[in-house]
């Protein structure tokens, strides 16, 4: 099996896309979109990260196993976030201090 070699063009395009997304995210930060600000910001960050992972880090051409490692570690992180936040978001629901 030989290694996949991406073209310089691919890399350059990804680079440009990342720069453009950075510019957009800075620009959007100055608009008042209410709660949408965070959504846009995070969506752009996730998009940028995905580009880096897929192309700079070659996951687009990697084995299934590596894709699995990438996806499952992200998933694990989300589990940690979700379960911990479940505590913070439901504290006080019972209306009894500290329960």
């Amino acid at each position: 099996m030989s290694v996949h070699v991406s073209s310089v063009k691919t890399y350059t395009l990804i680079f440009l896309a990342l720069m453009v997304l950075t510019a957009i995210t800075v620009f959007v930060a100055y608009l008042d979109l209410g709660a949408l600000n965070n959504v846009v910001m995070l969506t752009i960050a996730v998009a940028k990260a995905t580009l880096v992972v897929l192309f700079f880090m070659h996951v687009a051409h990697a084995t299934k196993l590596i894709k699995l490692v990438v996806v499952s570690s992200m998933f694990w992180l989300l589990l940690m976030f979700a379960f911990t936040m479940s505590d913070y978001l439901t504290r006080g629901w019972l209306g009894v201090a500290g329960k």
Partner: protein
């Protein structure tokens, strides 16, 4: 690929392909570990940002968006040069490998230098958490309590600090790779090391891709 006398083959592997696959899996598993490491801080960020939204906005206004954006561009650029460096190694272009490693090194160092100036500015403004911390909010931030402000800056320093530490390690590793690169040790058959390092460098870039909006761009309007 034949398994006889491959120059980079370690004794306990049967074939170089097996070795290459092992190295890349190993690197990815290492990055999974890194994700969880930074994840702990992102979790703390999430908890406190939902608890003290105003303090986070006030703190964010105290960060220099220009420097942040500049550094983001620098890091993305270094990711590009790194990717090209790996490509050069894959193709066995010795001089290109060296060139791109040096470019990456320079960009990485620029990032660190800018970070240094940002940190020292915080120092001058008493924004280092601890005894001497004092936050002067203006306008609508005049009354933001000091405690949560300290938490914002604690997170800022912890997150960017561990990120910078990773950058420093990266820079050292590049220095370490320059010699073998110059000697032409990285060839189409044998570039695991450069490739693995590339993964690390891109990962550090990704962390910053999240840190930048989360720290610098809150409530700017």
């Amino acid at each position: 690929m034949s398994d006889v006398a491959h120059p980079g083959l370690a004794h306990h592997f049967e074939s170089y392909e097996q070795q290459r696959q092992s190295a890349s899996l190993g690197m990815w598993v290492f990055l999974a570990q890194e994700i969880m490491f930074f994840g702990g801080m992102f979790l703390a960020y999430m908890v406190y940002r939902s608890r003290y939204p105003l303090a986070f906005i006030a703190g964010s206004h105290h960060l220099d968006i220009g420097l942040g954006a500049f550094n983001t561009a620098v890091l993305i650029g270094s990711s590009l040069t790194m990717a090209l460096g790996v490509r050069a190694a894959q193709l066995g272009r010795r001089k290109a490998v060296v060139l791109f490693l040096i470019l990456t090194l320079i960009l990485g160092s620029i990032f660190l230098v800018v970070k240094y100036f940002e940190y020292s500015e915080k120092w001058d403004h008493h924004l280092i958490p601890g005894k001497h911390f004092h936050f002067e909010g203006e306008g609508k931030f005049a009354e933001v309590p000091q405690g949560p402000m300290q938490i914002f800056f604690s997170l800022y320093f912890a997150m960017t600090g561990f990120h910078a530490l990773h950058m420093i390690v990266g820079v050292i590793l590049i220095l370490y790779m320059l010699r073998p690169a110059w000697q032409g040790k990285y060839t189409p058959e044998n570039h695991n090391y450069v490739e693995g390092f590339g993964l690390y460098w891109h990962f550090v870039d990704i962390v910053w891709i999240f840190l930048f909006p989360l720290l610098y761009l809150i409530g700017r309007h």
